[in-house]
Amino acid sequence: MITRFTIAERQASLVLLLLMTLAGLAMAAAGAGDAMGVHGFIVLFASLGLIFVVGGALYDPAPTEDRSRAYYDDPIKVGIVLAMIWAVIAMGVGDWVAWMLAFPDLRFDGAWSGFGRMRPVHTTGIIFGFGGNALIATSFHVMQRTCRARLAGQIAPWFVILGYNLFVVMAVTGYMMGVTQSKEYAEAEWYADIWLVIVWVVYFVLYLRTLARRNEPHIYVANWYYMAFILVVAVLHIVNNLAVPASFTAAKSYSLFSGVQDAMTQWWYGHNAVAFFLTSGFLGMLYYYLPKRANRPIYSYRLSILSFWGITFFYIWVGSHHLHYTALPHWVQTLGMTFSVMLLVPSWASAGNALMTLNGAWHKVRDDATLRFMFVAAVFYGLSTFEGSFLAIRPVNSLSHYTDWTVAHVHAGAMGWVALITFGAIYAAVPMIWRRETMYSWKMVEWHFWLALAGTLIYVFAMWNSGIVQGLMWRTYTEGGTLRYSFLDTMIAMHPYYIARGIGGLLFLAGAVIGFINIWMTIRAVGSDSKVLDVPTESEAGEPAVPVAE
């Protein structure tokens, strides 16, 4: 991989890595005795390791060919492998915490393994580790192919992928050491947050510079979604993480906002993490890999426009549906509820657009598990957005809020939509990128598909049951007008559902492990002489970037 760098680029990377090493050293020294010091050592060792990789190949022959004639797929490869590694880790932790809720002593003695510290390891690991790496890797793939241009820059893509993973590692190890801001999905502390801003700016500049090189007049739909993902996540991240550190040599900081303003800012962030991380970016994936794999054009250009701007505009308003009946002023709750219901229109427009694209290719859906992953993902996208709009209605939310019904909704979206579309996209992308005809084993893809689907269904049905049961028990009164059930009664009722969820999660995890093995075997089977399948071209003379309508 280093051989694709010119000597000057290798030197530049070394300088960058040396700066990182120094930063790590400074953090380790200043933060000694605090978790920040441990993070300093992580930065230090990660940079040193990379210095050895780059330095060891410093004087290898420089590339002679014209690099702009080929796509740049090395960072994508690393991104996909990292996404799968995070998938296995974070789903493993997810299943572990699921079992902990059934059998609380299923843990180690150390404080690090308590539920409160491990739960964010699951959510961050899965959303940012698995989802984020998959988004970055596929965005690099999609933008090059739909622009017919090579990534702008040799070092920047590596900086984005590796820098991003450094952020996730700092976040996740931080929670285990008790470093957290306690804001859901934004738990990482101030220095990790600042680092992510730097990475993100480089990411967006890279995106714009690659778009500027495009050999295609129009920017394809998938890129709009990826752009919305990058841009809005940046704004959300910066505002919600505004905080004052107690000391610049320790991790602890205090949120700039308090109470009701903090709650609204947090859920403005929180739901738009759902919107622009877990939806927008993955819709970008869907808009490229689904038509590509089905070999059919997107059903409707008009629906694409409608749903894109609908999602971008409406989502921002809905955060307050997380705060129904709380101390948040009533008018904000009402706005949130109204926009949540309206949001169903662009959401179903996207899901419908995806499903109609498959119309006429149903035999492929039947035969090809990769396409089936994407099909089922689109169905779950439709289901979970419907459920979401329903849950956002105040009286419904009075029952569902605080219960496992929310968790059921989350995982219908997260497993059924986010994870399945990602697996579909990865199975579509891996052969393209590693230049093979197919995956190592299509049977393993089938196995993965059925395990993932079964796991999702078991998980979601178990949590629907437990959530609705618990919500109803909490509000049941006796004839005499007193509450019938103690909190403890409701907990005992949850127990069997928690076991069912643990089993569902295990199936889902098993699927992911099979997927990981399959991808690994596909990579291993690649010969160094395999043919380049596609190159940037000036015109559509070869194959169009995405299937187009007549």
Binding site: L101, P104, G114, F115, G116, R117, R119, P120, G178, T180, L208, L211, P217, H218, I219, W224, M227, L231, V232, V235, V244, P245, A246, S247, K252, Y254, L256, F257, S258, G259, V260, Q261, D262, A263, Q266, I305, W309, T312, F313, I316, W317, V318, S320, Y325, T326, A327, V332, L335, P395, S398, L399, H401, Y402, T406, W474, R475, T482, L483, F487, M491
Partner: protein, 261 residues
């Protein structure tokens, strides 16, 4: 109707067709579309006075309680416990008067929570004795056999880091909590004093935080101040920073709670 919509739509589509050729145009479009909602919903919360009620009796967290709050955050108690009683009849019957915005006025960050694996803790203060809390945190299943709460036995042996408290209170003052210079300067001493009633430090706590402040050995042991002291001190103040919620309830001024159907 459809025809009319179509007439409206075609120029938009044509405009969009042009927009798609400009990455900066798209960037600006996305930023504009995505910023409006947040601005309309969040900015007024800082400017409209009625958003947060007045509560003249509202007091600050003492350094020991704030340290306990930081432990609550560190251990992720918020992942299982909410601190927000909604305006629903069954919640008020189960947990007490519903939460007011002013009660979390000094909470940086708020800990309202989103999942009740365990019960709401907004009005926990005074519900149980210190001993109950200590025993429960050391081994929840010894106290409540069906509990799925993790144990926090290590807190009882962990000495509290009081040295960093002045810096923590300073940071809190920067974000708007009105700690005085004397409170910041004495933060570490006050933290120790609040858990050691017979030490000299205890008087300072009363001076600075009022005579009603709870000063005692929260972990039941004399000697050093532990993280258990801090956490229990925090749990015992939950819902007791102001009496506003109870006053509202007895005055019958409550916007009526909504009965669950």
């Amino acid at each position: 109707m459809i025809g009319w919509l179509k007439k409206l739509y075609y120029p938009i589509q044509a405009g969009h067709y042009r927009l798609e050729k400009h990455s900066i145009g798209l960037t600006i479009g996305i930023i504009c579309a995505a910023m409006i909602g947040g601005f309309v919903e969040i900015a007024p919360l800082f400017t409209i006075d009625e958003t947060v009620e007045d509560a003249p009796d509202m007091r600050l967290y003492t350094p020991l309680e704030q340290a306990g709050r930081d432990i609550y955050v560190r251990e992720g108690c918020y992942a299982c416990h909410s601190q927000m009683i909604r305006t629903l009849a069954d919640e008020v019957d189960r947990y007490g008067p519903y939460s007011l915005a002013v009660e979390s006025k000094y909470d940086h960050p708020m800990l309202w929570g989103s999942k009740r694996t365990g019960p709401d803790l907004a009005r926990l203060g005074g519900k149980y004795s210190d001993d109950w809390h200590v025993a429960h945190l050391i081994d929840p299943r010894a106290v409540v056999p069906e509990s799925v709460m993790p144990h926090y036995a290590f807190l009882a042996d962990a000495p509290l880091d009081t040295a960093s408290l002045p810096a923590r209170l300073t940071a809190l003052r920067r974000v708007g909590v009105p700690y005085s210079d004397a409170m910041i300067a004495n933060a570490d001493r006050d933290a120790a004093g609040q858990a050691q009633p017979d030490s000299d430090g205890a008087d300072g706590v009363f001076d600075r935080y009022g005579d009603a402040t709870q000063v005692r050995r929260f972990d039941g042991k004399a000697g050093r101040v532990t993280e258990m002291d801090a956490l229990v001190a925090y749990l015992q103040i939950l819902g007791k920073l102001t009496d506003a919620a109870h006053q509202m309830e007895t005055a019958g001024m409550t916007p009526e709670t909504e009965a669950a159907q």
